[in-house]
Amino acid sequence: MSNIRKAFENGKAFIPFITCGDPDLGTTAAVVRAAAENGADLIELGIPFSDPTAEGPVIQGANLRALTGGVTTDKIFGLVRELRRDVKIPMVFMTYANVIFSYGAEAFLSACKEVQIDGLILPDLPFEEKEEFLPFCRKYGVDLISLIAPTSQNRIAMIAKEAQGFLYIVSSLGVTGTRSEIKTDLASIIKVVRENTDVPCAVGFGISTPEQAKKMAALSDGAIVGSAIIKLLEKYGEEAPEHVGEYVKAMKTAMVNRMNTDILYILPPYPSAGNS
């Protein structure tokens, strides 16, 4: 069984996204630990790419800061190796196809196995192109995580049937970034997913507030949050781990206590919705 399943055994999964090396790898390690200690169920680690076409301005900024700081794929494998001494929750990489292709698919995936990376999310690798890396993912036991978008329609069943790890449900059209409202009919999409697979599904893109996380988690098996966390890193830099820890705790609490609306009252301040 996929190690990623463990992330969904503890109620609804909270999945934070962190760009490796923003602003430096030491901070990334501290942020990952803070997130894990405060209830994150799975960590999505971004390997920065020069031209992240699926990202909004916030995560584009993180990619740029990380690359300017000199982070490389090899240094990120080193970071994960070091983190794995104590971080036991599942971790996946989010990056772009060229980062893996350029490293060599086999070399990249065997390194993933060695440092215990459990999965791979590639926003520019749709179902039709997954054979590019899938044979090596299988060989090294790394799940290739598929995405389903609001425009997927007749493609949902096809994608769900072959899903591995978890399914990443893209909440809205467009790129990553916080949104004040998510209008897509996710319930209908997730209904088709459920009919075709028992692989869990988590919703991402646009989620920043505990209310949104709670709502998305109620519809699915978890919530993925990127830009809201990156904003904390942008704001606090090396001081970010503490703030990310608090934020993760607030989000996870809201998701597991979804029957208790009062909980929001005691939450620390969280980044406001709306794209900055």
Partner: protein, 396 residues
């Protein structure tokens, strides 16, 4: 040349977000339907002839031929098309297709501004909304074209991310398309991006080589010995090569922008300095670092300032059917000035890259040989930048 999943050898494919998959599938289905539709083709031919001014001239450059003392030189005058470049061929095709598909809004990327101007023109003609993404750096280099687009009713969005040039404009146009698909067609300007764009754009530009073949047959009764064109993404080159690919005795030569030289980092010569990679929806050759980060390329020509090359060119290179040569800024500027003085034709700085290589090649060829150079666009837009390059500060 295309196999069913949009591959040219190992190149091509559809490396795009899931959000766009149904949009490109819908586009492919519409294109496959309309490309053989008599009504569509009649309408397009009428637009080509009556609106864009086709067929473009195949001009015998007598003075250049005499001066270089070698092969007979013909210029394929795409610069004489309406809007001043070959870009209008593709844009009229895609805009008409988008309209048939029920789209009401066109978005486009542009480097030098030629594709943006062409898209804005087609949008005005067909009553469609138009938004053009242009690197901020290029909006400065090509200020006149920015004004032309606005005049035509388009909104120009300066792109500030990355190197603020063509590749960033493409990225931003793709981002915009993922956020608004229902009413919007992404009118991609070159033979690049995800399938079916490289095929669609090539087919609409193939009118160039079809005409060259007919016109040269009429003038000389035979095929050319070589066809030269500049290559950024490669649409005018692909259009110039296409009907000659099966004519094995015709040399096909693409001229890449070497910027300050292929031994420097300030270059955009993809075949000379790039590696196989995956970017902007396609597998092809890209200028990139050891870890696959896309290189911040450079060329004096905003239209060739792109770190990749279309997948069909990458394939023609692999199988040895076409040759790709680097041409520096300095050589291109010399050629820009040379053609202006020798033939009274001011070429786009992009096209000047092809002229520059022809100036090296022609003298080494016999006088019985024939060389065709595609002048992809006119050079009015470049005058201020070339003056600056020569140390003269003029204002538009």
């Amino acid at each position: 040349m295309t196999n069913p999943n949009g591959r040219f050898g190992v190149h091509g494919g559809q490396y795009i977000p899931e959000t766009l998959m149904n949009a490109v599938i819908e586009l492919e289905e519409a294109y496959n339907h309309y490309k053989n539709d008599a009504g569509f083709n009649k309408e397009l031919t009428e637009l080509f002839n009556e609106y864009a001014g086709r067929p473009s001239r195949l001009y015998y450059a007598g003075k250049m031929t005499e001066d270089l003392k070698g092969a007979k030189i013909y210029l394929k005058r795409e610069d004489l098309n309406h809007t001043g470049s070959h870009k209008i061929n593709n844009v009229l095709g895609q805009a008409l297709l988008a309209k048939k598909m029920g789209k009401t809004r066109l978005i486009a990327e542009t480097g030098a501004g030629q594709h943006g101007v062409a898209t804005a023109t087609a949008a005005a003609l067909m009553g469609m909304e138009c938004v053009v993404f242009m690197g901020e750096e290029d909006t400065v280099r090509q200020a006149l074209n920015v004004y032309r687009m606005r005049l035509l009713g388009a909104r120009v969005v300066p792109v500030k991310t990355g190197t603020a040039t063509l590749k960033d404009a493409v990225s931003e146009a793709m981002r915009e398309w993922t956020s608004r698909i229902g009413d919007t067609h992404y009118c991609l300007g070159s033979v690049m991006g995800p399938h079916p764009f490289p095929t669609i754009v090539r087919d609409f530009q193939a009118v160039i080589s079809r005409e060259i073949k007919e016109q040269l047959k009429e003038k000389e009764g035979r095929l050319p010995d070589a066809v030269l064109a500049c290559v950024g993404g490669g649409s005018n080159a692909m259009g110039s090569f296409y009907h000659f690919i099966e004519e094995k005795n015709v040399r096909l030569i693409g001229c890449e922008a070497a910027g300050r030289g292929i031994e420097t980092f300030e270059t955009a010569a993809t075949i000379a300095t790039g590696r196989l990679g995956i970017f902007h929806g396609m597998k092809s050759y890209f200028c990139q670092d050891k870890y696959g980060q896309i290189a911040p390329v450079y060329s004096i020509s905003a239209g060739l300032d792109y770190p990749g090359i279309g997948p069909e060119h990458a394939h023609l290179h692999d199988i040895g059917r076409a040759e790709y040569v680097p041409v520096t800024d300095e050589e291109a500027v010399d050629a820009f000035e040379y053609l202006s003085r020798t033939e009274g034709i001011i070429p786009a700085i992009e096209s000047a890259h092809a002229i520059a290589h022809a100036m090296k090649l022609a003298p080494a060829m016999g006088r019985d040989k024939i060389l065709v150079i595609t002048i992809s666009g006119r050079g009015d837009k470049d005058c201020a930048a070339i003056a600056r390059y020569r140390g003269e500060d003029i204002h538009e």
